[in-house]
Subunit: 177 residues, 2 copies
Amino acid sequence: MGNQKQKWTQDEEDALIAGVEKHGPGKWKNILKDPQFAPFLTSRSNIDLKDKWRNLSVSNGAQGSKEKSRVPKLKALPAPPAPTATPQNAAPALQNAASDVTPPDASQNDQDAKNPPRYNAMIFEALSALKDSNGSDMNAIIKFMEQKNLQVNQNFRRALSTKLRRLVSQGKLEKVI
Amino acid sequence: MGNQKQKWTQDEEDALIAGVEKHGPGKWKNILKDPQFAPFLTSRSNIDLKDKWRNLSVSNGAQGSKEKSRVPKLKALPAPPAPTATPQNAAPALQNAASDVTPPDASQNDQDAKNPPRYNAMIFEALSALKDSNGSDMNAIIKFMEQKNLQVNQNFRRALSTKLRRLVSQGKLEKVI
DNA sequence: CCATAGGGGTAGGGTTCC
DNA sequence: TGGAACCCTACCCCTATG
C-alpha cells in the first residue's frame, strides 16, 4: 500500500560496485560499514545491497539482444557439478580488473562487537580504563559501566559477577586480592 | 569448502517434529540420540535441530496473535510413527528432489502456506521431460505444467518469468533463442 | 568440555510496484 | 511483459551462559 520503491541512484550504485571490488561479493555488511562507502549507502541495508547486486548481475548477464518480439527458448545446461573455476562473477561492467576478487576479506568472520552487549569487551575496557593501583573491584566496574550509559540493571550485576568468576577461572583475569 | 547448503528434507522435518513431541523442545541432543529419530538426522547436529525448530516456530507461530505458539503443526502422535522401515540411506547423501512437486493447492495465494512452491524443480522437470532438441519456450513449459494439473494462474506465469530470467543469469539455464 | 539459547549474516525463492 | 525493489524464509556460524 504505502509501499514506495526507492530507486537506486547512480552514486549508490557506484558505491556498491566499488564496495564489491574492495570487499568481494557477499560482504554486504562489511561494505556497509566501510567508511569509504557508508556515506552513500545510509538508506540501504545489507539485504538491499545483496538484492541490488543480484539485479545488476541479471541485467548484465542477459544478452542485450534487442529482439523482444522473439520468444526465447531455453535449454537446460549440463548440471553444474564442477564448481571448478566458475566464479559466476558477472560483475556489472567493471573497468578496473587489475585486482582480482580473490582476496576480498581474509577473515570470513570479523563479527566485531557492536549491538549486542559484549560483556567481555565491556569488562576489559573497564579494567583497562581504570587500571589504577592494584585492580578494581566489581563496584568500580559497575560505576564505569554506568558512566558509559550502558545498560546496568539488576540482571547485569548478577551476570557480571558470574562472568568475572568465569574469566578468572579461565585465567583471563587475575584476582589480586 | 563444505559450506554447501543442505536443505531439510520432509523426512528430517517430520523426525524433528516427532522428536520434539516426544522429548520436548530444547532436548536436541536427546532427540538426536533417540534411535527412533536418529536414522533420519544423521547429517544434522543438535544446533541444526535447534535452528530448524526456530524457523518452524517463526513461520507457523505469531499469526497476529501475541500468543507465542509452540509446537508447529503438531498432529498429536499418540503412538510413535515408527516409519523406520525406510532408512534407505544412512549416509548424508545428496538427494535429488526432482520428483516431488508442490501438492495441488487450490488456494490462489499461498502466502501463508508452509511449503513454498519449488519453481526450480518444476522448471527442470519440464525441460527434462520435453527435451526438445532446440529447447523449449515458456509456453511449452506452461503447457507441461497444466498437464500436470499444477496451479497455473496469472501469478504463476509472472513468477515463472522472473525465475527463468534469474536462472539464465545464474548460468543454470541457457537461452538459445 | 558439553549443551542450549539467541544474535547476526548471507543466499535464494517469491512477490509487488512501475 | 519485463525489470527493479522488496520481503520472507532457510541455513549456518558465533558468542554467551550453565
